[in-house]
């Protein structure tokens, strides 16, 4: 197992810059999730760590050793691909042992390593099968088996669960987390699914437009998003954003509603801001307790209910576990609890208390 240091790493294809000065230190045994929308550069970064893409600038170190110029085969890392990339002409055992064969490992050792990985993943009865005779979940397991057989310095996962159906994805997610608990292997996991990021990560790296937006523990990103992008990306349904103006001690929404804040912010009075509040933090109250909003749409999810509201023409969402919301009339009363308000300045950055 190893640490991975990424210093000032850049990537450009011709004149198109896809990664800008990425700095990231991954500790030995840590599970780091790179998350972001498509095209944010997270997969490119992962492929650069694997050695499948060249590094345009900066330095990348695995276990303290510079790897910028090192061929993938010499980096001693394992990767699980979104497509699984199993070798179709080899059976499961062949797929899992290929890397050891290339390293000229003794036959008995290969057999032992494959057997132990297979039993860990419940693949024992499938060792003689070809990939095309396996289900999606089984293929996924073989791909993981191929990675753990080698005991590499680090595991890289490139959206490994994207091709599975929802139920299987949930199950494999838990298995990956359990496997990481057992092996304590340094892992870098790329996904666009924020639930996967939240559940698996020791630390999340949120990326957008080739720039790291925030690095932190999952709940830190949820509770204190560093900017509008992270605030909007983490959480489902996504955070509501409302335009407002800051004045001492509170914000005035576009329609004139004033909401007070727990402590004054480091902003000038009259500054334009964006106020964010998560749908699950909006409180629905009785008559006369808050602001009146009209109900546009009700979406029951079974677990809870998502209400699409408009407040003097401003659209926003509320998530509630209260089934009474299903029969809500055309108008409801909502309250924005001030401790749950996030305020972002004109540049999109989080505003901290003075």
């Amino acid at each position: 197992m190893a640490s991975i240091d990424i210093q000032n790493v850049k990537k450009a294809y011709g004149h198109v810059k896809v990664l800008h000065d990425i700095d990231l230190q991954i500790k030995d045994g840590e599970f780091v999730v790179l998350v972001g929308p498509s095209g944010c550069g997270k997969s490119t970064l992962l492929r650069m760590i694997a050695g499948l893409e060249g590094v345009t600038g900066g330095e990348m170190r695995i276990d303290g050793k510079r790897v910028n110029e090192l061929h993938p085969k010499d980096r001693d890392i394992a990767m699980v691909f979104q497509s699984y990339a199993l070798y179709p002409h080899m059976n499961v055992a062949g797929n899992m042992s290929y890397s050891l064969k290339l390293r000229k490992t003794a036959k008995e050792k290969i057999a032992a390593a494959v057997a132990s990985a297979a039993s860990k993943l419940g693949l024992d009865p499938l060792l003689d099968r070809r990939p095309k005779a396996l289900s999606g979940g089984q293929r996924q397991r073989v791909a993981m088996g191929r990675a753990i057989v080698r005991q590499p310095k680090a595991f890289l996962f490139d959206e490994p669960l994207s091709n599975l159906d929802a139920r299987l994805r949930e199950q494999m997610r838990a298995e990956i987390k359990k496997m990481h608990g057992d092996l304590k292997a340094t892992s870098i996991y790329v996904t666009h699914d924020q639930i996967e990021a939240m559940t698996l990560a020791d630390r999340i790296v949120a990326m957008h437009g080739g720039v790291v937006q925030q690095v932190g523990a999952p709940l830190e990103l949820y509770d204190r998003p560093a900017n509008l992008f992270v605030a909007g990306f983490i959480g489902s349904p996504g955070m509501n954003f409302l335009d407002a103006t800051y004045s001492a001690g509170g914000v005035t929404l576009r329609d004139g509603t004033f909401v007070s804040l727990p402590s004054p912010l480091a902003l000038d009075d009259g500054a334009k801001v964006t106020v964010g509040i998560r749908p699950e933090h909006v409180v629905m109250g009785g008559e006369g307790t808050g602001m009146a909003a009209s109900v546009d749409l009700v979406e029951p999810t079974g677990f809870g209910i998502i209400l699409h509201l408009s407040l003097h023409g401003l659209a926003f969402k509320v998530f509630t576990l209260d089934r009474a919301a299903l029969s809500a009339g055309p108008n409801v009363q909502v309250v924005f609890p001030s401790q749950h308000l996030h305020v972002f300045d004109e540049g999109g950055g989080r505003c901290e208390p003075r």
Partner: protein, 276 residues
Amino acid sequence: MKTSLLPTIAHRLAILAYVIFALFPLYWLFKVSLTPNDLLYSEGVRMWPSRTTWEHYSFVLQHSAFPTFFKNSLIVSGSTAIIVTICASLSGYALSRFSFRAKYWIVGLMLLTQMFPLVMLVAPIFKILTPLGLTNSLTGLIVVYTAFNVPFATFLMQSFFDGIPKDLEEAAMIDGATKFTAFREIILPLTLPGIAATLGFVFTAAWSELLFALMLINGNNAATFPVGLLTFVSKFSVDFGQMMAAGVLALIPAALFFLLIQRYLVQGLTAGAVKG
């Protein structure tokens, strides 16, 4: 789902009609090869002669130069197919996977070679091969056929390589393989259907090539079978029975060849490689 009878019948009939249409010339070839010479013109057009004979076959095999033509054709077509397939595998892989500076121009140039009518090139090629001593030799034919088949075969192989996900060789490289090991152990086995198709295509192209064989070869020693067929045409008559018998015999290797490779042609070996 219940399919109604009428469209099914119409569909089958259409296929049958096509198969009959496509195979009829072959049937006629076979029929004439079995018809005794005295019945060929006297019986008129009949689907089957009143009397059949194998005498054309025995004559062709025992008293003509046909076995030499046959051997020459086998050498030329087999060598051409193997050399072209090896070259096309390597160049097709390069075109599919690498980006290099002159790629666009090389592809353009290869396309350009396919645009000229071959007749235009016969004289220059003859002029080039003569001082090299490659006219009237099987080696010369192999060189010319290889040169003309490599571009198309390269495009054919490229499309097969394009169909193999890049993830597979990346996975192999991460598993510890060099680029060439990944090509040899992972990509090449998966391209067997493509290799079979290319072998088959080039083999048949070389097997039936007439123009260059006719121009570059004179005499029976280095003649291939299409040229040899012409020896059955004499100044005053065409010996149809012997010619057809030779034609039937010439079909055998091509048919055998396709029988051998058809398993790979229809096999979708990449199934299950990636999500399915």
